[in-house]
């Protein structure tokens, strides 16, 4: 029976080519608009570290002065002062913890004759690699002892290893950073955390660093830091990165494996904050924040607002396309009232007419979906040509492919319901009389 309906559908498409092409294009463009924007949304809004995102917490303390901009319960600075970060790290109350900052450091390639360049750097304490599931190709990170001894060690990215050493195992080689030599102890595998959730001050979808060194080493060697630097008073001596400087610029993350540990840690943070206030360092009332990865991304509004706006726009567009298809299919169905009348008079039940028109709508949706898939591919290609920092992250995967076809089929079936129902209502006697 289904085969017969397909045949009827094909015949009907042939008899009104213009209308059919119009409906196909409408469905295809509507679906493609939705799927292109949905793909971008899906890539940008997803969980960057699904296995652990509920156990990793960004830590905020309110170390600012009571001064002009104070609002009780307001959002504290999203980074910590170096003093607080080092204190929390020393006390090490979480399962794992890391203090860090992004930066740029002059790298002089040896032997390649290349000009020195600023390499993207991350200065972090030892737990960094374990906490954020950083994949290694060779070797591994450094230890807490290396942090304490300001060891001159460095981990480099896969891309940098390929650029400088042709992809060989470069462990043990020396890398010239600024005016010092650091020993390579590890090479990462390909790693592009997106969003760059553990430090969004360099751009929400910034690329990961090329060189990683212990935080302590980077400070001693005066490697420069990049990102957000928030000072609330004049800095004595001009060293805004000094231990006592009234500046928040260090990201601090804690890994807490169970909810019980997380709530205990929150209490600990409150105690810490109270202690700092009684010692005269903090002026504001205790106002600590602990946000797991997805909460953190939400609170920092990492997803570009244009992306969700585009998504709404695309779905609005699809709604218009569907209304249009309903109208056109209805016109087409009613135009065939005579044919329906004959079929009904020959004994076809309403159900059969309904099924026939739904099959027609469905096959329209299927073909429209395939066309829409091609257009979505084109749309994604266009997005990838863009200059945004996330352009190259956007790609089509199997789930999105299936969703595209599903959306096309579903929307065309929905659009076919009303015309099919109206077609089934056609009175055979009335039609035969007018023939």
């Amino acid at each position: 029976m289904l085969g017969h309906y397909f045949e009827l559908a094909l015949r009907s498409f042939k008899s009104s080519r213009g209308l059919t092409v119009l409906m196909l294009l409408t469905i295809a463009i509507g679906v493609a608009a939705c799927m292109t924007t949905l793909t971008v949304f899906y890539v940008l809004a997803r969980d960057p570290i699904p296995a652990k995102s509920a156990q990793l917490y960004n830590i905020q303390l309110d170390a600012q002065r009571l001064g002009n901009s104070f609002q009780p319960g307001g959002e504290p600075t999203y980074q910590l002062t170096r003093f607080d970060a080092e204190a929390l790290l020393r006390e090490a109350r979480a399962d794992k913890q890391v203090m860090m900052s992004g930066g740029g450091v002059a790298l002089t390639p040896e032997g390649t004759g290349e000009r020195p360049f600023n390499a993207r750097a991350r200065y972090a304490s030892a737990d960094f690699f374990g906490m954020f599931e950083v994949p290694f190709l060779y070797g591994g990170g450094w230890s807490k002892a290396d942090d304490d001894s300001e060891a001159r060690v460095v981990v480099i990215s896969r891309a940098l290893n390929e650029r400088l050493f042709g992809g060989a195992d470069s462990r043990g080689k020396m890398l010239r950073l600024r005016d010092k030599e650091l020993r390579i102890i590890g090479v990462l595998d390909h790693w592009r955390p997106a969003p760059h959730y553990f430090d969004i001050s360099l751009g929400s979808y910034a690329e990961a660093a090329e060189v990683f060194t212990p935080f302590s080493t980077a400070m001693t060697l005066k490697f420069s830091t990049w990102g957000n630097f928030n000072c609330w008073a004049n800095v004595a001596g001009g060293d805004a990165r000094g231990l006592g400087a009234p500046c928040a610029w260090v990201q601090y993350w804690a890994q807490l494996d169970t909810p019980a540990k997380a709530s205990a840690y929150l209490d600990y943070l409150k105690q810490y904050s109270d202690k700092q206030r009684s010692a005269g360092r903090f002026e504001r009332p205790t106002n600590v924040r602990m946000r797991a990865v997805m909460d953190w991304l939400q609170a920092q509004q990492v997803l570009p607002s244009d992306v969700s706006l585009q998504l709404w726009l695309a779905f609005g567009f699809l709604a218009v396309c569907l209304t249009n298809t309903v109208g056109l299919q209805l016109a087409k169905a009613l135009r065939r009232s005579g044919e329906i009348g004959v079929r009904r008079a020959l004994g076809a039940p309403k159900r059969a007419i309904f099924a026939q028109f739904l099959v027609e709508a469905g096959s329209l949706g299927l073909v429209g979906g395939l066309l829409g898939l091609a257009l979505t591919g084109l749309g994604i290609w266009a997005v990838r040509q863009g200059s945004s920092e996330y352009a190259k992250l956007v790609h089509m995967d199997l789930a999105m492919l299936a969703t595209t076809l599903g959306l096309a089929l579903l929307s065309s079936l929905l659009a076919g319901l009303l015309p099919a129902w109206r077609a089934a209502q056609v009175q055979p006697a009335l039609q035969l009389k007018t023939q």
């Binding site: 020195p116 600023n118 726009l313 218009v320 249009n324 109206r422």
Partner: protein, 405 residues
């Protein structure tokens, strides 16, 4: 024109008529808001920087290792850049509009550290900045030679007095509404009071376009950066820019070999890059509006054609009874006008609803009323245009058509 017969006919085609109304309503609601979004983005992209965008190039470098005397190196660099053929003015500033970085400071009207005051982008600039950047001074004067100090002095001792300040007009109006800002004192930049000596017409924030207050305010301090923290700005004739950029980089390579080039770009390129996302959004919105209108137009053409076909007998009869072609044509036009009007009425409510949602979720301003009649006109015109072909086909039907079918 008698509308009653039209209404009577439409009553018999409630579903199809309803679909056209719905489609027009959705299109109207989306197009009104999209037009508003487009206008806002276009305004943002067009915001003047106050600088001579088409005549400036920026070069910034940094040393590989610690530098013995960056201040002396900077003086040498500036001299070498001035000697580059085609260069009219050279200066060094701490941050460039559209440069991707922003430094802001709070300014206060009282010495008390806990008093409130707005935040403003704090540019610091060395001698010759006003001519180099091409800013327009509307009150007061440029810094005089004795007012400049080295950034090194200020960072080593943050209580150093910054003697003079030039602010932009927006900040002047914020700090001293209705009063003359020249000679007024502000606090929070270095130690003690800083006197405002000049006001420039416009000086855009390094990171413009945000909703926050600080995106509108900027100020310039007479503080000389060294090459490590600043960017050299070179002004030349627009057609010389590419050549000056190359020659400038070569000159810096000679005065301080082996340095890292952080940035070498035309200001106009930086501006284009900065607004790339906004331009994309405008293109996308325009595309969606056009696509919406095309789809709606085709929907109207499709249904109107169907109606014409269905009413062949009626049209023939009317023609036979003496109706003119014009009357038939106007019948279909009036019908479309009515349907569009209903759609537009609902669409306006929808547009307002969408605008409320956008205000809530995207911090957009309210949709100005003027967009509603604009959207209505567009959709009425679109409907009339779309119905024209089917209506003319109907009008062209000979009276005998009624008898033949």
């Amino acid at each position: 024109m008698d509308l009653l017969p039209i209404l009577a006919t439409l009553k018999r085609h409630k579903t199809a008529a309803g679909l056209i109304v719905l489609q027009v309503a959705l299109t109207c609601a989306i197009v009104c808001n999209a037009l508003f979004l487009i206008t806002q983005r276009v305004e943002r992209i067009a915001e003047p920087s106050g600088l001579a965008d088409q005549e400036l190039v920026a070069i910034s470098t940094t040393g590989v290792g610690p530098s013995q005397n960056p201040e002396a190196q900077t003086r040498e660099d500036l001299q070498a850049l001035r000697a580059v053929p085609g260069v009219q003015h050279v200066s060094i500033i701490n941050q460039i509009p559209y440069g991707g970085q922003i430094s802001v400071s709070g300014v206060r009207l009282q010495p008390d550290e806990n008093s409130a005051g707005p935040s403003a982008a704090n540019y610091s600039a060395a001698e010759g900045w006003l001519q180099t950047l091409g800013l327009k001074l509307v009150a007061g004067r440029d810094f005089d030679a004795t007012e400049y100090l080295d950034d090194k002095t200020l960072s080593e001792n943050p209580d150093t007095k910054v003697p003079a300040l030039v602010i932009n007009r927006s900040l002047a109006e914020r700090l001293f509404p209705g009063a003359n800002p020249i000679g007024q004192k502000v606090y929070g930049l270095g130690g003690g009071a800083t006197q405002i000596v000049g006001v420039v017409e416009q000086l855009i924030s390094p990171h413009p376009g945000g909703n926050e207050e600080m995106n509108r305010y900027s100020m310039v301090m007479p503080v000389r950066q060294s090459f490590r923290g600043g960017a050299y700005m070179l002004r030349c004739a627009p057609q010389d820019r590419e050549r000056v950029l190359k020659a400038g980089v070569a000159a810096l390579d000679k005065t301080g070999p082996g340095r890292i080039l952080r940035q070498q770009k035309l200001l106009s390129e930086m501006r284009d890059d900065y607004y790339a996302a906004d331009r994309n959004m405008v293109r996308l919105l325009v595309g969606v509006c056009l696509a919406l209108m095309v789809v709606t137009a085709f929907g109207i053409v499709g249904l109107a054609s169907f109606w014409v076909q269905q009413r062949t007998r009626m049209i023939g009869t009317r023609r036979a009874l003496g109706a003119t072609r014009g009357q038939i044509l106007r019948y279909f036009q009036a019908e479309n006008f009515l349907l569009s009007a209903a759609g537009i009425a609902i669409g306006m409510l929808g547009a307002y609803g969408i605008s409320l949602l956008l205000m809530q979720s995207y911090e957009m301003p309210r949709l100005p009323w003027s967009y509603l009649p604009a959207g209505a006109l567009v959709l009425w015109a679109l409907g009339q245009l779309a119905v024209l072909a089917p209506a003319r086909r109907a009008a062209a039907l000979p009276p005998v058509a009624a008898l033949r079918s």
